[in-house]
């Protein structure tokens, strides 16, 4: 059991980082930290994906035309994660844009203060 | 037959919408009156044809749920009662509303739409159609209840809506249970539940039906909305109490007890004693409460609650004799109660009096009105030449056949209480001097002839039992299969 866990340590670390990211998003009221938390979370998933494509002793998957019996690592997860990173970058960019806008409109980027301002608006 | 059913259902909808025609701005009552007459004629014509029992399906709303209609004995009884009384009620409503002009078009639209809902309930051939129109009845009578838009009326309206919607929701649940156990929703004489249905399910179903339809039939703990709804204009009260709403509740109970649950399952559930007790409590308790009411319409309302107890008693019993009496009362009570409410409305319109304590001596000022009132109240008590006597007679007979002496005691006690709360009104109106100052402005004929007509009908039905008895007997036979 322990062997298995240690042998698969990238997965464990990925899960750990995922939890850290999730915690950061949910526990901090500073919007920038939330955005950072999102990134941490997504990085954990990327790590998980890439780790699952690893082949022990494998080479980077750049085809070597002269040598046909090279072991490559599985390129599919890496390729997928490239897409994942694109998505993550766009989300982050959009989030930052929104944070800038919120700062402009509310004068703060603290979620609790914003909630307070909004409830005063309504009252 | 199909044509007649379509007429009965669709004409009131058209009539209700026609109220908004620009040409009828001044006379919004015309389309409702015409549609009421057409519907009454159509329903009367259904008796002539030979199409009893034929199902006419309009369309399938969802797999297993179809909109279907059928005329059978019980359906025609209710339809004829409602459609027949709708004509004088509409005429009366026109005269009454002429004195209280407030959003007449809206009033008459919903007044007429209620006719569709009532006809739909009466003629439904399956549980779904019944439920559909039962729900519709709530929605079209609600605007009538809060018509005056006073705070009181609005409170009454919310109460009515809450009670009715909750009741309809329970009916829906009952429908689901029926569908799940029987696999069909089409009414059939003898019921839909097979012999293998467990007693628990039957009891559950009966309980749901009693709660669901009992709301509209004002079975005792569920009656509170009815006296409160007195805030509505008087023609509406007449409609609620005598013609459409409460009778729809009773009819729903009748239909579902005998065509869904079935007499045999009813027997097996072993509920009859409990249900009879419920009805008996309603009869006696409501009468006692009625005694203590000074507000005329509220007293009449509690009287309705009590009298409906007679009807539900027969339905709950599952015994042919009691059922016969209860169906007789179904018709007779409608006639008497509509007369009483017409009288109350005329009194309010003419003198503004709403309380019984102020009514002393009123009989000499308006003899026709109070005469009709006297006739109807005597009927309520069960004095011989009036129709109320007959229904009580058959109820007594049924109770004897069913060997239920306790029912006889309840009936006697209630008759006594009825006498206590009706006769002082009549006696005071005719034989006591005026105690309070009021002035009568004189009534238009439209506020007199409908109530004289219905009072006359009470006497006619009282004198000629052959008008009603054979048909009701057939109805009971067809229901008991």
């Amino acid at each position: 059991m322990v062997d298995k866990l240690i042998g698969n340590y990238p997965y464990l670390i990925a899960a750990l980082i995922f939890a850290v990211g999730c915690y950061t998003v949910l526990s901090h009221s500073n919007l920038m930290r939330k955005v950072i938390g999102i990134n941490v979370m997504e990085t954990a998933v990327f790590l998980f994906f890439v780790a699952s494509g690893n082949v022990l002793g494998g080479q980077p998957p750049i085809i070597d035309l002269n040598n046909s019996d090279v072991i490559y690592v599985n390129p599919l997860p890496s390729a997928l994660i490239l897409t994942g990173i694109v998505v993550s970058v766009s989300v982050t960019a959009l989030a930052l844009g929104l944070v800038v806008r919120i700062h402009r409109q509310f004068g703060t980027i603290d979620a609790d203060e914003i909630t307070e301002i909004r409830s005063n608006d309504n009252a | 037959m199909n044509m007649l059913i379509i007429l009965a259902i669709v004409i009131p909808i058209l009539g209700g919408l026609a109220v908004w025609l620009p040409g009828l701005r001044k006379h919004p009552f015309v389309p409702p009156l015409i549609s009421a007459i057409i519907v009454a004629a159509a329903v009367a014509a259904m008796r002539i044809g030979s199409g009893f029992g034929q199902i006419s399906t309009w369309w399938e709303v969802a797999p297993g749920l179809s909109l279907a209609f059928r005329v059978d004995h019980a359906a025609w009884l209710f339809a004829m009662l409602a459609a027949g009384l709708w004509v004088p009620a509409t005429a009366y409503a026109n005269s009454y509303m002429a004195h209280h002009p407030h959003k007449l078009q809206r009033f008459f639209m919903f007044y007429t739409l209620s006719l569709t809902a009532t006809m739909g309930i009466a003629l439904s051939a399956n549980f779904f159609t019944l439920y559909l129109f039962y729900e519709m009845l709530t929605f079209v009578t609600w605007p009538l209840v809060i018509h005056n838009e006073t705070a009181k009326a609005k409170r009454a309206g919310s109460m009515y809506l809450v009670y009715s919607l909750a009741g309809a929701a329970v009916v829906l649940a009952a429908m689901v249970v029926t569908w799940a156990t029987a696999g069909t929703l089409d009414f059939a004489p003898g019921g839909l539940l097979g012999a293998e249905t467990s007693v628990t399910v039957i009891r559950l179903l009966i309980g749901m039906l009693v709660v669901g339809f009992g709301v509209k039939a004002a079975v005792m703990p569920l009656h509170t909305w009815l006296p409160t709804a007195m805030a509505a204009p008087t023609p509406v009260s007449a409609l609620l109490h005598a013609v459409a709403v409460v009778n729809a509740g009773c009819f729903g109970l009748l239909r579902t007890f005998y065509s869904v649950v079935g007499p045999e399952a009813l027997e097996r559930a072993g509920f009859s004693t409990g249900l009879l007790a419920l009805a008996s409590i309603t009869i006696v308790l409501a009468s006692i409460i009625a005694l203590r009411q000074d507000h005329l319409k509220r007293r009449l309302a509690y009287s309705t609650v009590s009298q409906l107890g007679y009807i539900t008693l027969g339905i709950f019993s599952g015994h042919p004799g009691l059922l016969l009496g209860s169906l007789m009362h179904f018709v007779n009570h409608g006639l008497m109660k509509i007369t009483l409410f017409f009288c109350a409305g005329s009194i309010i319109t003419d003198t503004g009096i709403e309380h019984i304590s102020e009514m002393d001596g009123i009989g000499r000022k308006m003899p026709w009105v109070m005469g009709a009132f006297a006739v109807a109240s005597m009927g309520m008590v069960g004095v011989i030449p009036i129709n109320g006597f007959q229904s009580k007679w058959f109820l007594f007979q049924g109770a004897l056949e069913a060997a239920r002496p306790e029912v006889i005691i309840v009936l006697l006690a209630s008759a006594l209480l009825n006498a206590f709360y009706f006769f002082p009104i009549v006696a005071g109106a005719f034989f006591r001097g005026e105690r309070t100052e009021w002035k009568a402005e004189g009534l238009s004929s439209g506020l007199i002839w409908p109530l004289v007509l219905t009072a006359a009908l009470c006497i006619v039905f009282g004198l000629l039992p052959a008008l009603l008895y054979p048909y009701v007997n057939e109805t009971v036979l067809s229901l008991m299969n």
Partner: protein, 140 residues
């Protein structure tokens, strides 16, 4: 205004950064990288330019409208190239099956339409990075 060292170094480095970005874009079908990574490098090089030389000088070279246009253009480019397969009677993004010469593996001009698509992606990513930065920085 940033100091001279920064400006001189940046103006020295920028051509190399951009050349590297183009290199990565063009070799997307041969080695790790490709349109996204290369486009990102190009976009970041432009952002560096803004940080050092100021927003206005970059807006003069690449106006906001141009970068917005290129954003749409990149996507359309991708879709249009994808449709080639479809127009040839096969499926979307089809390459070899649509009768396009794939060339020799390992050479720069090979693998049919993929390199063409990658260029579109590079343009799209670079211009999007720039537009986003413009949107964030510009006060409206």
């Amino acid at each position: 205004m940033p100091d001279m060292i920064l400006r001189e170094i940046t103006s020295l480095l920028l051509p190399f950064i951009q050349m590297y970005g183009i290199y990565v874009v063009m070799h997307g079908h041969l080695s790790p990288g490709g349109g996204f990574a290369g486009g990102m490098i190009l976009g970041v090089s432009l952002i560096l330019y803004i940080l050092v030389f100021g927003l206005d000088s970059c807006l003069r070279k690449v106006p906001h409208r141009l970068s917005s246009f290129l954003e749409s253009f990149g996507t359309l480019w991708y879709a249009a190239v994808g449709l080639v397969g479809l127009l040839r009677g096969t499926s979307f993004l089809m390459n070899k099956g649509a009768g396009i010469d794939l060339g020799t593996p390992g050479e720069l001009f090979s693998s049919g339409l993929i390199v063409v698509i990658t260029i579109g992606v590079g343009i799209k990513v670079a211009s999007t990075m720039l537009s986003l930065f413009y949107t964030l920085v510009e006060e409206d």
